[in-house]
Symmetry: D2
Subunit: 338 residues, 4 copies
């Protein structure tokens, strides 16, 4: 039985973690840490948990490390997370960090894009990027896993089979991404107002979204190149769901069938990646509330088009976090996730 | 040509007013007053107006009355509106007030429900309730019209034919009301967050919504009784549209046909009220972006059920406000509204 | 381990059944019966199941009873279900029927509202109405359980505490009900077209919805009266979720607190019924994807208002069906449902 | 006063045409032609028109040309339209055809993509592509205007300033397009079912959408090249609105400012094209229910990204059709459209 803590318990991703863990037969939630809501029952923050899970939240602070926890999920915002991660690691607690604070091999890239000094460079170096389909071996023995961003998860899973075989130009990767609104978090702003979002669609953070260097960083790891990613996210009027439509240039002619074979070879044994049936393309609805990534590929002209879809709160955040926990703690990798 | 001002120019209802007035051949907007955004162009507040209508907003304040205006629409919140209405009236400008500040014949009722002292009781007495189908004559000669609330507009138009003939018990009027989210205004709150509102439905302000006394007050005017209204509004995951489902007890047996005749007699000549085709019930979509109120009636058991539907921003606010302006200023009543 | 069959496997409710049963540790799906899609894998019908559950569907027909099944869920339309239920019962298989075919104690009421002759009157008599909170004892030993309709589930759970104590007039029960579109089933029609349903709201089947006699029938069982229910359903632009807003007349004065106590007494020990926190009202979102029914009560004037909310596909259909299976087969009642 | 007919009166685009024309001071609808609903009042087909515009539909057929019509809008499906267009032209009636039947200079391209023989090649040759911003002069004197497709309108307006100056590689134009569901028409199918479309997102017709050759054909006209367009449309869970996110390769370095100047020069005087404010990107909501196309451009790396947004039923269909009528009949080009 893995004893689990959740830090930053009021985020949407924390609610998802709780829902998954309540179904997980070999773990139990023993700690909910929060900066501002200590003493409040989690069911008052998320009434959906009333009569189901009513644990009170504990204060989060320097030196306040829970005694009886094997692993914590950190659901704090980037730049805040790294203030608290060290004390958990130092107490021998494994960490899955859902923020961006430990995702970059290069400290300088993090600092350039997040505009703060990284305060925990030693753990940064030791952290493993928690995309199990690519880094399962390292995750098994890691004590700190950086859970990938939602867009990078879908994008990298869509690109990996082609990059590993060096089939595409990595300096001209075009990712037109679309996400539901829950990706914007719980804070009410004009941008999350129902009347602004519903029946509306727009691109945002064009050319400056922080998931760009995260994708480039992993592409670089896979391909030993200096990649350039044109990454453009769009806000879609739906709560959950994420689709990356990816346009890449082929280095040589290759057929649809060969590419499908490539993907099937890499992902055939994966429980959480599947190819769309031939001739069809992923619907986000078909991965909503699941930890699945569904991918379709199609050669058009000199390019291959890749469509990669996940639930941004599941495979894009909390589902993948539990998948990582399962690997780190020796549970069946799909436990609690199907 | 009527010269028009809009005060409180940043509200959703102001955008609707502008859109309507841009199509109105015998009026022109000559003033936009705002408490906080003076100097800003209205097209920066509502980008939809870019290249269409880009007038800058003027400051609103004591003594700051525009010189060249015949009528102002007041789109300020209740309790704020009555601070500014007197200075416009005193300058000889007609006023259509979209707030609740001048809707109540009884000052004490206003003060009990809005929890402030009424600071302009003299104009309150002179104000006319701007429901043209019931009070057209008075509106024609009024200088201050209190534009009705959205729920009261739909509810009262649904009830009026029955109450005028004394056919129902007015002490047991049950109004189950449903509204789109734009009725909640533009302020971002947890309650207007897309992820909270979409795929969600709830009752709110049960038994305490301020439109209850407004409906009771007009029912009382029509029926010389002491009415009791059970009014329960619900938030519906859509931007615009409002439906009142009304359940009232018949004093004596009466057929569907007789009731339809009653409604047809009262509303047959009205440009903005229609009955649903026999056997059908109003869809809010069929009145969206129009100034129409669609009503259906059906006798069931000892009760008659009434369904009354409007666009909360049009017949429920800005459309009706322009209808009132047309009546007050001698334009064709439907001008700009079809 | 309970071996389970699902008949009518292509309905939305069947997909929900499958999702629940995949998480249920003491049951397994061993049969999927369908009238028209035999041979097709269920994952082709519901791509969301690809790589998760890909069982082929079996033909459904006279005499075609699967050998190795302990209990079947019947997800066929009303009037069709009763053609197949007898052959399963005769083979010693327990049945939870999600259609209306076995919900009425009075055959004549069924025949009047469903406009067909009931072809299986003997089993009709033996069937138990599957609302565990009221009929748990009978369900335990039943071989045929009629799973309640979605609206009746919410309505009856909201009314039961008051009717059992004889506190309200049962001849004037007003139920203003609202449901997401999944309640309309999977068949594409003008009425389920996205552009007709989104940003739209309407009442339907006013005074003639078939859940009216179902509610009246159970109210009658509880209260020994001749009830009259004004039941008006509305279509809400959301996929899942159902709210009944109920207005009933009190026989005598009673306080909010007393009524809350009454509800707490009856439902305090129930795993799937909860009261809203005092002063709040149920949001359908807070029961979506759960088997919970959330209820709030408030006395206003001479009436008590009750708000009762469920997920129409869960507590209103498939969740409750599994709850019934758990009771019938001796599993923990909440198994697979939290 | 232009006397107008609408053929194929039951389409969504026809409802939009009617709404616009009711506000148009110098035209009147004198004919509604339909293949299947002759005799029915248009207000029964679109109840939103009840009490506003209740003209009965006339039969459409060989030789059945209305006597008193100056211009007809054809809102029939492609391949059907060209069966009826000749008889109107032959009777001296101007035609704006909203189908694809007259959009292609090359008959063979039409026949390859629409998989039928073109039955009216002579008029095809004379037809003018109705994009006023590019072909205003020809439209002025045309008797047959082919109203552009929704996607091509947004795409071409976004590309034109760059192609005219030969600034981009036209053999690598990537258009990731997103559209609301009304683009799929009124026929109820599984693909337009509310529960399939809401909270869902998907690419469709990848590499095979018929708007691909339409865009290529106009790009070719502007640039004298042999263009290749990667066009991928996506279905977005909203009723109206369309965004093309376009990624093209620059032939030489050029700054954001220079590109904005280019667009401002071409479109500064256009009433229905505007650039987003600097640093912002178009929201479809800001063009909904208007005839505006809003465009933003941003240089990223070696590419320029273009975002072009319209209301698919307005500038993408009926609004542009009326704009064309205004030009063809000598009305002010914006009449009825603001």
């Amino acid at each position: 039985m893995t004893k689990v803590g959740i830090v930053g318990a009021t985020a949407y991703t924390s609610l998802e973690l709780i829902k998954i863990l309540l179904r997980h037969p070999e773990s139990e939630i023993s700690y909910l840490g929060t900066r501002r809501m200590a003493g409040t029952k989690i069911s008052e923050i998320f009434p959906v948990l009333t009569k189901i899970f009513e644990m009170p939240c504990s204060p989060l602070g320097e030196g306040k490390v829970p005694g009886d926890v094997d692993l914590v999920f950190m659901a704090l915002p980037p730049t805040v997370s790294m203030q608290f991660v060290p004390q958990f690691l130092d107490a021998g607690i494994k960490v899955v960090d859902l923020s961006a604070d430990y995702r970059f091999a290069e400290k300088s890239v993090y600092e350039r894009w997040y505009k703060v000094k990284h305060t925990d460079p030693s753990h940064l170096k030791a952290a493993v990027y928690g995309l199990p389909e690519l880094f399962r071996d390292k995750i098994e023995t890691a004590s700190l896993v950086a859970n990938p961003g939602c867009y990078p998860t879908a994008a990298i899973l869509g690109l990996a089979p082609l990059i590993k075989r060096d089939l595409i130009d990595t300096d001209d990767i075009i990712i037109d991404a679309k996400s539901g609104i829950s990706g914007s978090g719980r804070t009410p702003t004009e941008a999350t107002h129902y009347c602004e979002r519903n029946e509306n669609l727009e691109a945002y953070n064009v050319g400056v979204h922080r998931h760009t260097p995260e994708i480039e960083s992993i592409v670089s790891l896979m391909g030993n190149s200096d990649p350039f990613v044109y990454f453009t996210p769009h806000l879609i009027p739906m709560i959950r769901g994420l689709l990356c439509s990816i346009y890449v240039q082929l280095k040589k002619e290759i057929s649809n069938e060969e590419i499908r074979d490539l993907f099937n070879n890499l992902y055939g044994g994966e429980p959480f990646v599947r190819l769309s049936r031939d001739g069809t393309f992923p619907k986000t609805k078909d991965v909503t509330n699941t930890n699945m990534c569904e991918i379709a590929v199609k050669v058009v002209g000199k390019r291959v088009l890749i469509f990669s879809s996940i639930d941004n709160l599941m495979k894009g955040a909390s589902g993948q976090a539990v998948q990582n926990m399962n690997i780190m703690c020796g549970h069946n990798e799909t436990m609690g996730l199907i």
